[in-house]
């Protein structure tokens, strides 16, 4: 808490100095000079505080509106439409405009949640443990379900025991690696994304 050490006299003087009405009556415009005050003099745009800015693309629909993301100390402080973009010319719709709310949402997941078979609640587990457990489960299911040849001798070299869903909200590079690793590496064929549903 800051303690106001100003005397009543000083406070009155500062009130009179900042009071807009006399200046308006004197003919100054209410939206510029008459609106200035000691506080407003010190205001600066939020963007000035940013120590980093990057170009981004809206994470919602396929229109592909461009965004500028401003950050300070590793935290996003502002997201706006990129005025240079021929797609959106700086505009964003209600979803795109909510991007900062999405990124900074306190409801975001921050740890791996794990649910044991038949359990009634989540547990938190270390990321590394989860990665190793998932790798082993993947290997086990693949090994148990991998088919080299069908009964009639047709070569298939695949597993139908594992499925992969998702991709339409991910980067091209992520989709590429998913198809390459799960398909080309592990023999998974049931790889699908939101293009159908």
């Amino acid at each position: 808490m800051t303690i106001n050490r100003r005397t009543p006299g000083k406070r009155i003087a500062s009130f009179v100095r900042d009071w807009s009405l006399p200046r308006q009556l004197a003919g100054e415009p209410s939206k510029s000079t008459a609106a200035k005050s000691t506080t407003s003099e010190k205001l600066q745009p939020r963007l000035k505080l940013a120590d980093k800015v990057g170009t981004s693309i809206c994470p919602y629909c396929a229109v592909g509106c461009a965004q500028l993301i401003y950050a300070r100390n590793g935290k996003v402080i502002h997201v706006e439409g990129d005025p240079r973009s021929p797609v959106n010319g700086g505009r964003l719709c209600p979803k795109g405009a909510a991007t900062m709310g999405l990124l900074n949402n306190p409801e975001r997941l921050t740890t791996v949640k794990y649910r044991r078979p038949h359990a009634t609640d989540w547990e938190e587990v270390p990321l590394d443990w989860a990665m190793e457990r998932i790798a082993r489960l993947t290997k086990q299911t693949r090994d148990e379900t991998f088919v080299e040849k069908l009964a009639d001798g047709t070569v298939v070299n695949h597993t139908l025991g594992i499925g992969v869903l998702g991709g339409a909200t991910l980067d091209n590079e992520e989709n590429y690696l998913m198809k390459k690793v799960f398909g080309g590496g592990l023999g998974v064929v049931a790889i699908e994304n939101q293009a159908r549903p």
Partner: protein, 844 residues
């Protein structure tokens, strides 16, 4: 077409889309076109903000779009309003089809070639006379007795009748095909007053020709049907006749839903394709690389290059281990044996042979059809990995799901081992998205994701690393693919995140000897000397330090408006596909007003305002020398613009590439309140039906389920809702689920706005609030009144904005071509009240 090119349109037909609300920023170009004098048309079951801003609005019943568009095609043909100078040389209108071809009007609603036992078509009678027309569409082989006849296309051009008199030419077939689609029939089937229909047909016709062009914008309102592919086909046929393809302000613009849904289709996480439209090998058809290349390569046109693309892909995946001797590692690719798409996956889970699943950035419990069955499937898995930024329904079905709330199961009954992993969002990772107009746009990493959040790239990379370790000692042949797979991406920082630019460079392609980036797909070879992860994207990273997807130079007022310096549009940074059609057969622009590219005689090359989608120096006067065999682009004459087609022409009639007919025909949705007024065949005969427990369908005009139902999206929410229902701003704007009900029906049932209502189908029941609104009008269909109800499908139990899952109501049925469901047109019942599970004792 580019979204911004819509400002050059003279007419825009928005159909199967509520563009103003669902693609708001793209709609600004429609508004700008209107301000410049264009006519805006909206055809839709609901009156929406798109309708409010349109010059003409026409209501139709969901699922009757082919009847409407077929009506326009008939109107153009019968009144001779099509753009003859364009459509005659540039489409296959004059091509002669096999004598045995029959269409539904002659054949009980079926096309010739129907095999009742196999439930599919044999396509012999759909072919060009004396030859087989191959298709490079993945998963779409031409089902004919003698596929070898595709090589006939290298010997002579298809037989044509430029006078259009031959009864077997496409023009005459189309006239017969659409003769029944009169304005009266359009009204009877769609419910749209014939005056509105004629006004729209006239507006389309009036804005065609040398000086004028029109565009069509569609979205999921067309794709979510068992006849969806053919709806889009019907629109393309109209656009071909009107001369609206490959020209400024002309085209068919698909408005897609997710930020990289185009990218994930091109570089597919889809079962039937390898990156950029190569077919995933099929066990029966493609036992060896040789048979694959023979079967998939189209002998004429651009697709003749397919072997270069396939071999380069194998080199990208298996690196030095891919050699000529081992078919470049072809056998390591898994082969498909049927439909492995999402819906059969649901059954694979409930049947227990799919045992583990990764769900990465998708909320399938809300977005999947027959949502209760999806949850049953997940409950049958051994393990499930869900990666998302929020706690989505897909990860919590075992404690908060429908099976639990309806008392069918307890969490203790469910044995699935579940991992819910925090995922980074754009802004927290670097990479590219491909937007709805093929624009590949880079996004930077600005901050780290919260806590243990990682990019999905990092997840897959590190999982693959661990698996490589687990398989390191294996000597089994079946384990070779993961051991031989290339995974040598440089890593960044203490978390060892793989460098996404390195992945993008692999997609772009490089020469294998010195890892030098290739300048584009023309540099690719089929001998193993190049590697390329996605040929159609090649050129987006043409040299070290030159990532064109990061380019941010839009045109100023003096530019040509194609914005070639803003990101990269595949292929080759072309903004308008097939833009050769923007010039007349001699290579001159159709008009000054509508110029795009043209032939520069002095320079001997194509030039203009876009990068030519053509062989740069192929003169308009070039003709193949048919005295000898002609392959590849040599077989395409200099006046044929559609270079991906084996005859260089737009296929108004498709001999190959579709499984349910070479031309569209109106079939009713699988669930519908109406009988098919056109044919004996009620619904698409080739549609995929799954007669399974929990997936029962309604009868035609089922008295228990008398209302038509359509599902849709809202501006403030995104698809299955994960990134908006849990975010306060968007959740506050649309806080809760509802159903739109026409006042006439509401009055009949005594329902008022905000009352609780229950919607039901044979698949399940949901409760929601009523919104009584005139936006939905009762339609008179074949003499009786049909009420249509609408329900947004975003909602679920997670987040702040909640509601029952609309997809509890939908069934699993699918379009035969693309396995797309039919959530835009089904039937349901509606009653006032609530479900007992929420309010015991409340009258239901």
């Amino acid at each position: 077409m580019s979204q911004w090119d819509l400002v050059n349109s003279d007419v825009i037909l928005v159909m199967g889309s509520n563009m103003a609300e669902n693609h708001p920023i793209a709609f600004r170009f429609v508004v700008e076109a209107k301000q410049r004098g264009a006519t805006i048309i909206h055809v839709d079951p609901r009156f929406t903000r798109t309708s409010a801003l349109a010059d003409i609005y026409a209501p139709i019943r969901s699922g009757t779009d082919i009847a409407f568009l077929g009506g326009i095609v008939r109107y153009l043909l019968e009144n001779d309003l099509w753009f003859r100078e364009y459509a005659l040389p540039y489409t296959n209108l004059s091509t002669i089809i096999e004598d045995g071809f029959q269409a539904p009007e002659e054949f009980d609603g079926l096309f010739s070639g129907w095999d009742e036992e196999k439930h599919s078509y044999k396509m012999d009678s759909w072919q060009y006379e004396g030859m087989v027309v191959p298709t490079a569409n993945a998963d779409h082989s031409v089902e004919v007795s003698d596929p070898e006849k595709k090589h006939e296309m290298t010997k002579r051009p298809p037989r044509r009748d430029e006078t259009l008199q031959d009864p077997n030419c496409v023009y005459q077939i189309m006239r017969r095909r659409f003769a029944a689609y009169t304005p009266e029939m359009v009204e009877r089937v769609t419910g749209c007053p014939k005056e509105s229909f004629v006004k729209i047909a006239e507006a389309m016709a009036k804005n065609s020709g040398r000086e004028r062009t029109g565009a069509v914008c569609y979205a999921l309102g067309w794709t979510h049907h068992t006849t969806g592919s053919q709806m889009i086909r019907a629109a393309t046929i109209m656009q071909g006749l009107l001369g609206n393809m490959g020209r400024p302000g002309g085209g068919v613009l698909a408005l897609r839903g997710h930020c990289s849904i185009q990218g994930s289709t091109d570089i597919p996480t889809l079962y039937e394709m390898l990156p950029t439209y190569l077919a995933q090998p099929k066990a029966a058809k493609h036992p060896t690389l040789e048979t694959y290349l023979e079967e998939e390569t189209v002998p004429t046109g651009w697709w003749t290059n397919l072997p270069k693309y396939m071999v380069s892909l194998l080199k990208a995946w298996y690196g030095e281990h891919a050699t000529k001797e081992n078919e470049f590692g072809y056998q390591w690719l898994p082969k498909i044996v049927g439909d492995h798409s999402q819906f059969p996956m649901t059954f694979a889970m409930t049947d227990g042979f799919m045992r583990g699943m990764f769900v990465i950035g998708q909320n399938t419990v809300v977005g999947g059809m027959n949502a209760k069955l999806v949850q049953k499937g997940l409950a049958g898995l051994d393990w499930l990995v869900v990666r998302d930024s929020h706690e989505v329904e897909t990860a919590t079905f075992w404690k908060k799901g429908t099976l639990i709330s309806e008392g069918e199961m307890k969490p203790e009954d469910i044995a699935t081992e579940i991992f819910l992993m925090p995922a980074s969002l754009p802004g927290e990772k670097a990479g590219t998205f491909t937007n709805t107009q093929r624009l590949v746009q880079w996004h930077d990493k600005v901050v780290d994701g919260p806590g243990d959040s990682r990019s999905d790239l990092s997840f897959v990379f590190h999982l693959a690393r661990r698996l490589k370790e687990l398989y390191a000692e294996s000597t089994e042949k079946r384990d070779e693919p993961i051991r031989k797979l290339t995974l040598d991406y440089p890593v960044i920082g203490p978390l060892e995140d793989p460098d996404s630019e390195a992945v993008l460079q692999e997609i772009n392609g490089y020469t294998t000897a010195d890892r030098k980036l290739v300048s584009g797909f023309k540099a690719l070879k089929d001998d193993g000397s190049t590697a390329c992860g996605g040929w159609a994207y090649s050129g987006l990273f043409p040299e070290e330090g030159k990532n064109l997807t990061r380019s941010r130079k839009a045109d100023g007022p003096d530019g040509n408006g194609a914005h070639h310096g803003w990101a990269f549009a595949w292929p080759s940074n072309r903004r308008t596909l097939y833009n050769r059609a923007s010039a007349d057969p001699e290579g001159k622009p159709w008009s000054e007003r509508k110029k795009m590219i043209w032939w520069d005689e002095a320079e001997g090359k194509w030039t203009g305002l876009d990068i030519p989608d053509y062989v740069e120096d192929k003169a308009p006067g070039y003709r193949p020398d048919w005295s000898k065999e002609q392959t590849g682009m040599d077989a395409i004459s200099g006046s044929d613009p559609f270079i991906m087609m084996p005859d260089g022409r737009m296929a108004l009639f498709t001999p190959a590439g579709l499984k349910d007919g070479p031309l569209p025909a109106h079939y009713e949705p699988v669930e519908t309140p109406a009988k098919n007024a056109f044919y004996k065949a009620q619904s698409n005969p080739a549609a995929k039906r799954f007669h399974r427990k929990g997936n029962a369908l309604h009868e035609v005009a089922d008295k228990q389920y008398p209302y038509a139902l359509t599902t849709y999206r809202l501006t403030e929410h995104h698809t299955a809702g994960a990134p908006t229902r849990g975010v306060p701003t968007t959740a506050e704007l649309q806080p809760e689920s509802f159903a739109e009900i026409p006042p006439e029906l509401a009055e009949k049932l005594g329902v008022r706005t905000l009352d609780w209502v229950v919607l039901s189908t044979k698949r399940g029941e949901v409760e929601t609030r009523a919104m009584v609104t005139e936006r939905l009008r009762p339609l008179t269909i074949d003499g009786s009144t049909v009420y249509e109800i609408g329900m947004p499908w975003h909602f679920g139990w997670a987040g702040y904005a909640t509601g029952d899952i609309a997809n509890i109501l939908t069934s699993i049925v699918a379009d035969p071509n693309v396995s797309m469901h039919e959530a835009k047109a089904l039937t349901c019942n509606l009653r006032k009240g609530r479900l007992r599970r929420h309010h015991e004792g409340v009258e239901a």
